[in-house]
Symmetry: C2
Subunit: 138 residues, 2 copies
Amino acid sequence: MSNDRTYTDIIERLRHAGLRPTRQRIALAGLMFTGEDRHVSAEILHGEAVTAKIPVSLATVYNTLHQFTESGLLREIVIDGGRSYFDTNVGDHHHFYFENDGRLEDIAAEDIVVSQLPQPPGKARIARVDVVVRVRED
Amino acid sequence: MSNDRTYTDIIERLRHAGLRPTRQRIALAGLMFTGEDRHVSAEILHGEAVTAKIPVSLATVYNTLHQFTESGLLREIVIDGGRSYFDTNVGDHHHFYFENDGRLEDIAAEDIVVSQLPQPPGKARIARVDVVVRVRED
DNA sequence: ATTCTCTTTAGAACCTTTCTAAACTGTTGA
DNA sequence: TCAACAGTTTAGAAAGGTTCTAAAGAGAAT
C-alpha cells in the first residue's frame, strides 16, 4: 500500500540526512512532509503529534526541527514576534506575510525579480536573499 | 548652543507624533536620534540610558519603542531569534544581515531593484516589501 | 494650585526556547 | 540473537525576552 512507500521514503530521507530514523523523527516527518508545503511552529507540530496520538515531548519537537533545518530538510523563518516557523519548502522562494493574522504564504522564486543587488561589505558573501511582501487585508 | 536646538527639535518631534514630551521619552529619543541611523534593541537602549545616568525602567524603554514605532518614528525589525531591533531609519530601504554576529546594516532603497512583484492574494494590499540580504563572513 | 489624564515603575507573570541529567533505543558486531 | 555503545528522548527546570499590573508620579489645562 502507499503508506509503506511514504514510510520507506521518510526513513530513507532521514538516513540520507545523517539522522537516525527514530520513532519520533519518522512521525514528525510524516506530519510535516505531506506533499503540500507547510509553515509549522514547534507548538503547532507538537499539537498535531498529540492529536495524532503520537507521544512526543516538546523538547524533541524542537530538537527535531533544528536538526532537520541543519540537514537542509527545513528552513527556519522568523518574521515577527517570538515565534519561529519552519518551512518545508527549502527551494528558492519568498513569502507573503499577512499582517492581520501572522500567516505566511509562499511566493515562487520566479514571481519576484530582484534585478540588482549591492556589493556585500568587506569580504562577506551573500548566503541568501529573503524577500517578504507584507500585506494587509483591512 | 546646539544642544538647545536638538532638545527643542526632539520635543517638537514628540508633540508632532502626539506623544507627551516626558523626561524619559526626550532622553531616549536623544540617545537614538543622533543623526546617524541606528538599529537598537530594548536592552541596548536601556543600557545606554543607564550609562548616561538617565534612570529609565526597562518597561518604559519597551513602551517608548513601541509608541515610537506606532507613531512612525521607528521601524521594528525581527530577523532572527527572540530579539527585536528598532531602526531609526524609517524611509524606504533594506538590510544586510550578518549571520556571523547578528548585525544589521542598511541598504539604500535605490541599491536594490525589485522589478517584478506578484499580485497579493484576495483583496490584500501590499504594505511593504522587505528585502534581507543574508551574508556570511566565514 | 488643583485636577485630570497620561506616564512611569518595580516586580511578577508570561511565553517560547534551551538546558540538564537520567532513562531509553537504534545500530553494530560478535 | 544479544550485548554494548553511542545517539536520542524526556520531564522538568531554567533562561531570555517581552508584557502585564496596579500603584505612584508628572505633564497639561483650568
